[in-house]
Every structure is written in C-alpha cells, then in structure tokens.
Amino acid sequence: MNGLKIENLGKAYAKKPVFAGLNAFFPTGTVCLFGPSGCGKTTLARILSGLEKPDAGTFSGISGPVVYLFQEPRLFPAFTALENVALLGRGNSLREKALGLLTRLGLSEEDCQKKPSALSGGMNQRVALARALLFAENGGGNTVLLDEPFKGLDPATKGLAVGCVKELLRGKITLVITHDGEDASLLSAEAVAFSSLLSPAI
C-alpha cells in the first residue's frame, strides 16, 4: 500500500526533546493531525519537507519535492499575489492557472495585482494556499503538508479553500496540521491526534 511511513522519528532542540519515538503511516488521502501548540506538529512537517534533519528515526514513501504550506504565508514581498503563485514556473498557461486558482479562492483580479503588503492577512493566506496547490499540480511530488491552511479565513472563504484542497489534492498523501477539530469533517478526512503517534512501533 502506498503511503508515508515514519519510524521511530525523534527531534530535540538544544538537547530538549520535541518528540521521540514517533511512528506513523499515512496512506494516500487526507489526514488531519491535531494536537496542542508546541507538541511538535510543525517540527514533524519541517523534517518531512527536508528543512530539518531528524535526530533519530527514518521515513519513507515520499517521492518528488514535498509541497509544504507554512504556518505563515511567507509570500515574496516584492511580487504581486499573482506573481507569487506564477513564480513557480514559466509560461502563460501557468499564469492563467494561477489567476484561475486565485479567483476561485475569492480574490478579485485587482487583488491579484497587489503586493502582499496591500492585502489582508486572510487574502495572503489564500495566496499562499494557491501557491502550494499549484506547486502540488506542477512540480510537486506525492506528499503535501498543510500547516494550518485555513488560519484567519472567514467561513465563506474557508469553504472555498476546503473545496480547492479536496479537489486538487486528490491522489496525494496530504497531511493537514490543524487546531480546529472541525477541519477533519469539512475535508472528509481522518483526524489523528499527534500524541497517538508517539507510541511503540506499529
């Protein structure tokens, strides 16, 4: 069965362990991972995306670049919303796709031409989500990590974002890190408590 397998993963900062002995198997499809702040969810995402090295353990099943939506939008400030999304590739078709995705997420064409500093926090969050979703489709591998993807979104725009995630990430191993227990039911995904992964080998 295809999926992401994590075995005995451990990480510590300045000799203070964040987590140890983390074991999990995430099959193709969406899983919502929840847990209190500071339990190590984001650290796990950073390890899986290759930004951090684990102190112990291994993981397998990832092919191609990991798509990682950070907790913060992390948009490039000198570029417009559209450019931030279309920057991932070349050509007019990608630009059109980016524009289509941004408007689908509720941004007007005028908003797409604005720089992140001129947009609201919720708009920037949607631009960052659009960037991740487009990368998943163009160049990204089989694994997608979304760290609080709906943070700061009102119910209406959250509905739009959930729709895009469900449709565009079909066939991927998608791990959604969230604080909101409602997200799992909105995404029709399995909800997994982070603490439940910190158990002896499965």
């Binding site: 990991v66 798509v67 490039f76 400030p77 000198a78 920057l87 991932l88 160049g139």
Partner: protein, 257 residues
C-alpha cells in the same frame, strides 16, 4: 503623478531653495565680517571666479580628468566590494580569511595609503586607487550584512518551492539587500570624491582638480581655491543625483520585468 505628490515635491524644492539662500547669506555675512577676500572670499567673488575658470578649456580638461579618475575608482570599488560581500557572506572560511583586510583598510588613515600608493604606482593612477580603496570596504560591509540579514523564512519558502538560484536572488535577496546596497553606493560615492581629490592634492597628477587646488593654495588665490572646491561639490552632487536617478530607473525597470 498625483496632485499631492506634485505639491510635496514643490514644497521640498522650495525648502531646499530657502536653505540654500540662507547658507549663502551666512557665507556672505561671514565674508563681510572677516573683511579680507584673501581669507574668506564672498560667494559673489567665488561665483565670478568659477564663471571665469569655466570659460577656459583647461578647466574642463582638469574637471573631466578628475571625474574620470574618480568614476573608475568608484566603479571598480563597487565591483570589488560586491564580489567580496557575496563571497564572505557565502563562506565562513573566506569571511575569516578576507575580513582582516577590510578592517585594516577601514582603520588605516587615507594619507598613509596615498603616500604608500605614490611609492607603488604612477601618480596619475593614485586617485583612482585611493577611491577604490575607500569604496570597497563600505560596499562590502553593507552588502554582506544585508545578505546575512535576509529573511530566513523567505529563503526556506524559496527552497521548498524549488525556485532555483536566479529566482531566489530575484524574489528574496534583491528586494532584501537593495535598500542597504543603494544607500552604501551613494555614501561611498561622496567618499570616493573626497579621498580621490585628497590623493590628487598630495600626488600632483597633471591636469587635475587636485593640482589646481594645490596651486591656488600656493599662490594664495583663495577665491580660486573656493571656486575649485565648489566645482568638486557640484560634480560630486551631480554624479550622486545622476547615479540615484539611474538606480531608481533600473529598479523600476526590474520591478516591471
């Protein structure tokens, strides 16, 4: 351009004009108080001398040659400073190896370098060399700090989204370092003029503003000394304004691309 921007620009221009007239007035009053043109010529006398000098071909040859020398020193200093900054920001080993060089150049008096350079190279090349030496560490230090202070979070985003080197430079590094970099270029341009002219005064290269300043002092032509100094100020300010305009246009073009 909006009406308020035009209004603000007009206001700024008016303030500059008032400031200019105020300081010219102070100069005139000081000159009247001293009462000796030999010690402090009036602005009018300086302007007349400048006008007379500007009517001679030797004035333009001297000003042009000095301008060329300092521009060569400045531009090569910018190139070297940029290269050193990129290298030392990228490699700790190179930083440890090259940083003492920058510290020594910054701490050594300009006069020592001028006199040493006079022993090593031709007098006519000393001003360019000295301008180069003064510009390099300023650009180097400012750009290196700006590169190292680049937002780590954006660099991580560029890495995760596989932007590649060129796009990472365009999307992350350039917007982050440009304000500091351009400020360092403008600061070092003024320093290039000061040090370059000081080198000309000490090295006496033929056809230069420096030699004209030196001879004005020797023959007690204080009005000429002021006129040549005014020439340096005008050239330096003009070059700075031109450079700032070019940078602004290049940046605007880069943003549109």
């Amino acid at each position: 351009m909006t009406a308020s921007t035009t209004k603000n620009k007009g206001k700024r221009l008016l303030f500059s004009l008032i400031a200019c007239l105020f300081w010219l007035g102070v100069w005139e009053l000081a000159s009247l108080a001293v009462g000796k043109e030999l010690l402090l010529p009036s602005p009018r006398r300086t302007a007349v001398r400048l006008y007379t000098l500007a009517g001679t071909s030797s004035f333009w040859i001297s000003a042009g040659t000095s301008l060329l020398r300092i521009a060569v020193g400045f531009l090569s200093g910018v190139a070297a400073g940029t290269l050193f900054a990129v290298l030392t920001a990228a490699s700790r080993f190179l930083d440890s190896l090259l940083s003492p060089l920058g510290t020594v150049v910054r701490a050594t008096p300009v006069a020592s370098f001028i006199l040493l350079a006079l022993v090593w190279i031709q007098a006519s090349n000393v001003p360019s060399f000295i301008s180069f030496l003064m510009v390099t560490p300023i650009v180097w230090s400012a750009l290196k700090t700006a590169i190292l202070n680049t937002d780590r979070q954006l660099l991580e985003a560029a890495k995760v989204y596989r932007l590649g080197r060129l796009k990472t430079v365009r999307a992350v590094f350039l917007p982050s370092v440009l304000p500091t970099y351009t400020a360092s270029l403008l600061t070092s341009l003024g320093l290039a003029w000061k040090s370059g002219i000081a080198a000309e005064v000490l090295c006496h290269p033929r056809q230069s503003i420096g030699i004209e300043l030196y001879e004005s002092k020797i023959y007690l032509e204080t009005a000429d000394l002021f006129a040549w100094t005014a020439t340096v100020v005008l050239l330096s300010v003009g070059m700075e304004a031109l450079f700032a305009l070019l940078l602004k246009r290049t940046l605007a073009k880069g943003e549109r691309a």
